[in-house]
Subunit: 297 residues, 2 copies
Amino acid sequence: MPETVGNTFQTRLVAAARATESRLDGLLSTGPQYGEIARPAHLVEAMRYAVLGGGKRLRPFLLIESARLFGAEGPAVVSAAASLECVHAYSLVHDDLPAMDDDDVRRGRPTVHKAFDEATAILAGDALLTIAFEVLAGIEAPAETRSALVVSLARAAGVGGMAGGQMLDLDEGSVWDETALRTMQQMKTGALFAYAAEAGAIFGGASREDCDRLRRYGAHFGAAFQVTDDLDDAANDAVGGRPSLVALLGPDVARAMLLREVEAAAALLASYGTRGNVLAEAVRSLAGTGISPTPTL
Amino acid sequence: MPETVGNTFQTRLVAAARATESRLDGLLSTGPQYGEIARPAHLVEAMRYAVLGGGKRLRPFLLIESARLFGAEGPAVVSAAASLECVHAYSLVHDDLPAMDDDDVRRGRPTVHKAFDEATAILAGDALLTIAFEVLAGIEAPAETRSALVVSLARAAGVGGMAGGQMLDLDEGSVWDETALRTMQQMKTGALFAYAAEAGAIFGGASREDCDRLRRYGAHFGAAFQVTDDLDDAANDAVGGRPSLVALLGPDVARAMLLREVEAAAALLASYGTRGNVLAEAVRSLAGTGISPTPTL
């Protein structure tokens, strides 16, 4: 049976998840490393619980496949993908805290602060964010590449990106029109997807133009992902007091927006010919049946 | 009047604090930078409150003076010092949270979660930690230097360093003998001081041997600092259920330990002749009257 593009995407998604998880398993060992004095077993256990508890590993997949588009693959790319997943996992752990979204369950399991306690959850998130930068700055790649990746990841995750987006999301004084919602989501969700795709291009030594293109692909991917997520959640018309885009615009407008984001993302890959097929199929799957995103992704 | 060594140390300490604060002020602006979409003003305000609220800036001082020992100075060194202070400030914000040490006051002002709220404090800490790596990876220095600094800072701050030390400190099952206390303090406090001094040497392109020597100087400095801190606190014989080294060993043994740490630190500088005087004076001041460390440093 000939391999179809869809098959390749699903196969690659699973392969990226396995490789990333295997690397995470190795990184999060209880033995002290590189002159560390000790690693508290309890804290390592909470970090592992947070990051090894499932998920489709979409962000690592985007990084790995974007790198492959520019000819880069291997252990260093997988380490960068694992580092990115540590940042994503940290954000979920902190967002779930009682002072934030106050969620008791994620991916069908107790959240970290329920399975352990609040202090451990805060520290596990902190330590996951920290180890992400340690891993990324230490991969086998030219130092210029490592530094550029650290800067990009920190910008995507920080006050002007993911953390800032969560702050906006929690702002009870916000007037949630479409612009405000999209800004918040571009920061909270989109920035890390944009980093994922751009990071692969940086890894592959791509031109500034190609890095920008992949970055925009990732941003459209993130926007499409968010709408799909909201559509799946449409039974709930509000999230902690703010409307979702679907609740605000209605499901028909939201679906049209989803298709626009998907096609904008796919169009950016046109210049890469068939080499862009896996990434194009990945984003198209958001509008189809290939992936069914859930809030747990 | 001839400048004395002590004078030089105090002068340099003040100069390092001013330079670091000026850089922090510039970094933590509300305008979005480098393609960021937005910086929530509320979050930036909390980050500024956390990091610009005073303190002697001992860690930045160590970094700046260690760099000077190896011939490096200028804006990039100050940026690295500011990045380090962001990490220190983040740790204070998170440690003060109700789920951790539950402190309402720091440096005579309400802690961040009291002045703002818990969610903002968690995010401000997260964003300070994140921007530290953005700044450090983006300074004007060879990419090898930047990557090495990021790896060292992350190791010092992470699961095998500061965050791990805080986890040990919170562990109610610990048996607090001298070894356990020292391990916890080496991780929670010592690792960041060790990084501070080592980072300056890395900056100056020092040999591996010199980097290690400065690292050990910083670790002894941190240990001395901790004992001084405990001696100042000796009125309280326990901190959240665990004894301090002073409570465990008695003030006389603790003072003898302080002197040993100070002399061990100063001895490491002997090979640098008079160029090491400022750093030697800095650590000796911990046993004298030059600095009076408080829990707010």
